[in-house]
Amino acid sequence: MNFKRFGRTAAIAFVAVIALSSCAANEGDTASTGDNAASGLTGTLNAGGASSQGAAQEAWVAGFQTANPDVTINYDPSGSGAGREAFIAGGSAFAGSDSYLDEDELAGVFAACAPDTKAVDLPVYISPIAVIFNVEGVDELNLDADTLAKIFAGTITQWDDAAIVALNPDATLPSALITAVHRSDDSGTTENFTDYLAKAAPEAWGEEASDTFPFGGEAAPQTSGVVSAVTNGVNTIGYADASAAGSLNTAALKVGDEFVAYTPEAAAEVVAGSPLVEGREADDLALDLNRLTTNPEEYPLVLVSYAIVCNEYADAEQGALVKAYVEYMASEAGQAVAAESAGIAPLSAELSENVASVLATVK
């Protein structure tokens, strides 16, 4: 039978491939040194959530696995919503999420947690959102929240609009249509961006914060999609996680009386100065970001992403793994690793300590 023979050949080919590649060069018995064995952690940790954390999680996983060779951690950058759903259903050990658990979710049952215990939100990832643009002959751009809102809402359509010219008296702005690129997928980046505009420019924006972009216009999927649309298009402007901005020009935002370009420090600063969300458990570190800051040390357009973990895990071994891993994420070493390879803004020392003290109670 011919197709059987075909199948057999295919099977042989597969076996051959697998036999040849018996093991990846970078894996296997990486002769664990003494202190590694001391950690005593073994097992597999499966988690998932925010894709914004993807690159940072890669760095954290690599760092943690190097220190604990018997541990394998898989982080699916499948999206905040999917991550929270999976975590609530008990399908993942912790969730990465761009938004904290809402009240409905907190009222429900968390399948992975010990009976009658809840989950908490721990901020582990701060990233400034950069306003990127690609306009020929323009390298620097100053914007205030009102103008930015009008551009993305479609009420300012020309680059040489009086409002933009007034903010950039020295720039040679072309008389061309603005193509404002937003995220076509629902995303935490959009939620933070619209939250900033809704709070800082409520009249010009006129919409509430939401993870779906409320206006029409050019759209592209994922941070990388927005970046490539802005790069490949003409007279474009968009918003993206700052680490992905690459060589594109970024706009400075008006804070108080000055124009502030994004820096990791300025992003961390605004997060450090933001209060916790009111009316939640004391150990829940959900943040109410201070978008209206007038301190020019702070850059208010930031994204904070959380690790959502159980107070107490039904499976104690998983609990120990999650605890160790999230502790590493929030630690100074972990933040430094992610800052280097994923461009995040490291947590302030105070916030880092708060996270650590909550984690100390997790079991």
């Binding site: 197709f3 697998i18 590649s21 894996e27 499966n46 993807g54 890669e58 690599a62 699916d76």
Partner: protein
């Protein structure tokens, strides 16, 4: 079947010997084509000099030149050779043009992938390591290759027997309602969005194993099989239908049982087409990202076991490298393109192997 000649062709004409009637010289199409290109090039050059257009338009030259050629060859042939030959020449030009048009994106994609993929493709670690503990540059694709081959191989093992047997049922046995239902719903099945297939497989196994976070390679195979079966059935059915009835009847007349007729006569006759169909089906699913993201999951480590734990696959690898880029974005993008290049090469190799198999097993006749 009968060939119905158009009535116009049967009108009695004064007898002229069409073999010696007016005929364009043998090389004339070539010269006309070059001539039309030159003319359009001249036009565009004039436009450039008079500064109507800013720059010489090569694409425009080729496109409009070819259009001009079609008109010219039709007119010339109509004058010298008559209407029927003119139409023939025109259609030849159009059919060839269609082929060239199709080559443009193909070549463009291949070149783009090759150029962007090569930098990471030729690094020594690319085929010898996984992404475990790799941050920034370096790392490899071995875990994803293994995963893709295992998952797609299993999907093929599931869907080819089912698909082929169903196609046999439809052409050789099927009468009445069941056959009609199968043909119809197979078409519907081609419309299952890939992500829905993934969600279906996920829901199925989450229910079966009572594990809301289930991710494993075999689930991916099932999701891919759902997408693959209709393509296999549809293409195999078409190919089996084309086997002339004379062959079957000759076998029956010799007293060959039906199942042997199918095995020894029908299948070998159509094997080339069937293998093409199966290859198309594999190519259709091997690049699927969305369902595998949901059910096969994502990992940076090796996994040879289809039945436990997450398994990386090439499309997921490419997508992930593209989507979650770190600060050193270039090395992520490089890996994404190199992964894409690997995927294309794998399908090319499989394709070549399948053709070889088809040639070995198909009976030798005619074309």
């Amino acid at each position: 079947m009968s060939i119905d000649m158009k009535s116009s062709d049967t009108i009695i004409r004064p007898i002229t010997n069409s073999l010696t009637a007016g005929k364009l010289p043998k090389r004339s199409p070539l010269w006309i084509l070059l001539g039309s290109w030159l003319i359009t090039a001249a036009v565009f050059l004039v436009l450039q000099v008079t500064e109507v257009a800013d720059g010489f338009n090569l694409v425009g030259t080729l496109v409009f030149g070819t259009v001009l050629y079609c008109v010219a060859i039709y007119a010339l042939s109509h004058m010298v050779e008559g209407a029927r030959q003119a139409k023939d020449r025109l259609m030849t030009a159009l059919v060839t043009a269609a082929f060239i048009i199709a080559l443009v994106p193909l070549v463009s994609i291949m070149i783009t992938t090759a150029i962007n993929g090569l930098p990471a493709f030729i690094t020594p670690t690319f085929f010898s390591s996984s992404m475990r503990n790799v941050v920034g540059a370096g790392g490899g694709v071995l875990h994803a290759i293994t995963g893709t081959l295992l998952v797609t191989g299993m999907a093929t093992l599931i869907s080819v027997p089912i698909g082929l047997l169903s196609a046999i049922y439809l052409t050789e046995y099927g009468r009445g309602r069941l056959a009609k239902a199968i043909t119809f719903f197979v078409d519907v099945m081609t419309g299952v969005p890939s992500i829905v297939a993934g969600l279906f497989a996920f829901a199925l196994f989450a229910l079966l194993f009572n594990d809301p976070g289930i991710r494993f390679g075999f689930g991916g195979s099932i999701a891919l099989a759902v997408l693959m079966i209709p393509v296999v059935v549809r293409s195999s059915e078409e190919m089996l239908k084309l086997v002339p009835n004379e062959l079957r009847e000759a076998a029956y007349a010799l007293g060959v049982p039906k199942w042997l007729t199918i095995m020894k006569v029908v299948l070998p006759t159509s094997i080339a087409g069937i293998v093409t169909g199966v290859m198309l089906a594999i190519a259709r699913v091997i690049g699927e990202t969305a369902p595998l993201l949901i059910i096969a999951g994502f990992t940076a480590s090796m996994n040879y076991d289809l039945f436990s734990e997450r398994m990386m696959t090439l499309p997921v690898y490419v997508y992930n490298q593209y989507v979650s880029q770190g600060v050193d974005a270039q090395s992520y993008v490089d890996r994404a393109w190199a992964g894409a290049l690997t995927l294309i090469l794998i399908v090319m190799v499989l394709n070549g192997a399948a053709r070889l198999i088809a040639r070995i097993f198909s009976p030798k006749f005619g074309r």
